[in-house]
């Protein structure tokens, strides 16, 4: 019996998701709103200028590059906006605007567009932008100030990690200060509570894998606890956990390996954690998250080749000796 319904095969994909790049980026932007409000609260209205400069430059750079190279304009996927936000949140409030502009241009054009646009970048664009400024104009990203300054004359202050590294006293900053963000630092990195709130939102929306973040943080905590200044198991792991750029890196940057299998992502998180703790404890910089994640970005391809991902539906067969 011939079926009268004309059957034509459907073309792939047969399984679809509503998760587009644009949707993901919108969720990340939403998640970063509390951090943005916190940056204004703690460091003043100049934070708005910094964020606006970074975001505007990133979007404009991407538009100009794609226009000039006659590619599809993709600024409406908001990935450049997210990059701009992360660049801004990694800068102290007294950073010069021209520094932020250079970091933004470099991150979008060199790190992202040169390698084919979103998904093709070899490293986190925001961190590459910050790293370039740290290397070329280190004084620009060292202008940390205390929080709650109401006047133009901000009081400069070393960060907690810097004080910790040099063996100086930082008892004026309590753990609670570190948790809420009342400490010197980059405008978006200081408030752990606000960063975690946004991260919980992303976890709820299934944008990020909290296991990866947890593994990264746990690795850093373990190493900084074990290798303390007064001997083994004497490290001030809470200070390491609550200060510096660790939390923003854990919540919004280490989770940037969506294309890799879970076990690879966890492995990379461990590597990044080891490097972060290592740089903080034994390197010349007080903060290690930026370079640790960049190094991990470069190792991602190698790890991907070494660790075979689990094939769905197949049980792992162990070779009999």
């Amino acid at each position: 019996m011939i079926n009268n319904i004309e059957k034509t095969p459907n073309i792939s994909p047969h399984l679809k998701t509503n998760k587009t790049s644009k949707n993901i980026m919108v969720d990340v932007i939403i998640a970063l709103i509390p951090v943005f409000i916190g940056s204004i609260y703690f460091f003043g209205t100049r934070s708005i200028l910094i964020v606006f400069s970074a975001v505007f430059t990133c979007v404009l750079s991407e538009y100009i590059w794609q226009k000039a190279s006659k590619k599809q304009i993709t600024i409406n996927d908001y990935s450049a906006v997210v990059t701009g936000l992360l660049i801004a949140f990694n800068m102290p409030v007294q950073t010069s605007i021209w520094t932020i502009v250079i970091a933004s241009i470099f991150s979008i054009i060199v790190t992202k567009q040169f390698f084919g646009g979103i998904g093709g970048n070899f490293a986190n664009p925001a961190l590459v932008g910050r790293a370039i400024i740290m290397l070329l104009w280190p004084a620009q990203v060292a202008k940390y100030v205390t929080t709650y300054h109401a006047s133009v004359d901000a009081v400069s202050s070393a960060t907690i990690l810097s004080l910790l590294k040099n063996g100086n006293d930082f008892s004026q900053f309590t753990k609670w200060d570190m948790f809420i963000g009342n400490i010197p630092g980059a405008i978006g990195e200081t408030s752990v509570i606000l960063l975690v709130i946004g991260f919980l939102y992303l976890s709820y929306r299934k944008i990020v894998n909290p296991v990866v973040t947890g593994v990264y943080l746990l690795t850093v905590v373990l190493i900084t606890f074990v290798f303390g200044p007064q001997g083994l198991f004497t490290g001030d792991y809470l200070t390491h956990l609550l200060s510096g750029g660790l939390m923003i890196a854990a919540c919004y940057m280490i989770t940037d390996y969506a294309s890799f299998a879970p076990r690879i992502r966890v492995t990379l998180a461990v590597i990044a954690g080891i490097l972060t703790a290592g740089i903080r404890l034994w390197g010349i910089y007080p903060e290690g998250a930026c370079f640790a994640i960049l190094i991990t970005n470069c190792l991602a391809g190698l790890v991907d080749r070494i660790i075979k991902p689990h094939i769905y539906g197949m049980k792992l067969k162990r070779d009999k000796v």
Binding site: N18, N23, D27, I30, A31, I33, P34, I37, G38, Y41, Q94, P138, A139, A142, K143, Y148, D153, A154, V155, S156, S157, A158, S162, N166, N168, D169, Q172, W176, I180, G181, N182, S191, I193, L194, I197, G198, L200, Y201, Y204, R205, I284, P286
Partner: protein, 325 residues
């Protein structure tokens, strides 16, 4: 999907509001002393303001320090000087005599972390209360605080070394770099020697060398490693006598060192002369040195140290003139 997002946004907003409530509540609950911070009174009052003439370079403002009863107990002067990265602004609190420093507060500075930023360390600032302005560094004559006018003497008249940190800096850039030597003397012995070179962009060769940005040869010691070896030799021998220099300005006395060393040895000797104190002739000429204090410089941060000294002396000049009007 959209319902899911809206629920998420509402939850995010609620938790954020609660968090800010906690953050703001914490700030309100903490007792804030409006009149004094931890390091001293660097909040400018609205009364007792002293008029600062424009002729006083680097002096921003000044006012009377009063106690709770309204009695004047001293004078605060906010003065600034150019440091390594930018302006260093200090608040110098003087006693009623306008000379003795009650307290020194760093109002703002952006000096390099690990170097000039040490001026904000409690260990460095605690030397100032009780010191008498004007101030100068160890080895400088109190009547002449300009280090460029130091008289260079031969090493043969070096006396017993006085404890402290002594800095000697080359006059000019050579090959794009200016050498700076810092020595530390403890218990009359040299315990630390640091040789570094700074380029015109303010970058230090030790940093460039250790990060691979300044490479001399693919194998062999880096510049910083060679500088450290020379420094170790001076500490071991407590002088530069062991470093023999040939016609090319190089030495074979220190294994692995191939760089030119005569600038290093010259500056070490210059620093050691500072450490040995002023000569008898200089002591006899220091008639205006009465009441002046020596302060420690910051090791490895010449410009930042000079900024501190200059700012303090500017503040002193102003308040001294004001009180003697």
């Amino acid at each position: 999907m959209k319902d899911n997002r809206i629920k998420g946004i509402i939850a995010l907003a609620i938790v954020t509001i609660i968090s800010f409530g906690i953050i703001y509540g914490t700030k309100s609950l903490v007792k804030v002393d409006d009149s004094n911070n931890e390091q001293g009174n660097n909040v400018e009052p609205t009364e007792g303001i002293l008029v600062v003439d424009e002729s006083y370079e680097g002096v921003d403002s000044a006012w009377e320090i009063k106690d709770d009863a309204g009695n004047v107990t001293g004078y605060a002067v906010k003065a600034s000087a150019r440091g390594f990265v930018g302006p260093v602004v200090l608040q110098v609190d003087f006693d009623l005599d306008g000379k003795t420093i009650q307290n020194l507060t760093v109002v703002s500075s952006n000096e390099t972390e690990g170097y000039g930023s040490k001026m904000e360390d409690e260990d460095y600032l605690k030397q100032f209360p009780g010191t008498v302005a004007p101030v100068h560094f160890e080895g400088e004559s109190a009547s002449n605080t300009n280090k460029d006018d130091l008289v260079i003497q031969s090493a043969s008249v070096v006396n017993t070394l006085k404890d402290g940190i002594y800095i000697a800096e080359a006059d000019d850039f050579i090959g794009g770099y200016k050498s700076i030597v810092t020595i530390k003397v403890e218990n009359s012995e040299i315990t630390s020697v640091v040789w570094d070179q700074m380029d015109e962009l303010g970058q230090y060769k030790s940093y460039l060398s250790s990060t691979g940005k300044y490479v001399m040869t693919e194998d062999g010691l880096t510049w910083k490693e060679q500088a450290d070896k020379l420094a170790a030799n001076v500490i071991e021998n407590q002088s530069t006598s062991d470093i023999n220099i040939n016609d090319e300005g190089e030495t074979d006395s220190v294994t692995g060192v191939s760089i030119s060393v005569n600038e290093f040895t010259d500056l070490v000797e210059k620093a050691l002369l500072k450490a040995s104190g002023p000569t008898e002739e200089e002591s006899n000429n220091e008639t205006s040195a009465t009441g002046s204090s020596q302060i420690d410089a910051i090791s490895g941060a010449t410009h930042s140290s000079d900024a501190i000294k200059t700012a303090i002396n500017r503040a002193y000049t102003f308040i001294n003139d004001y009180l003697n009007k």
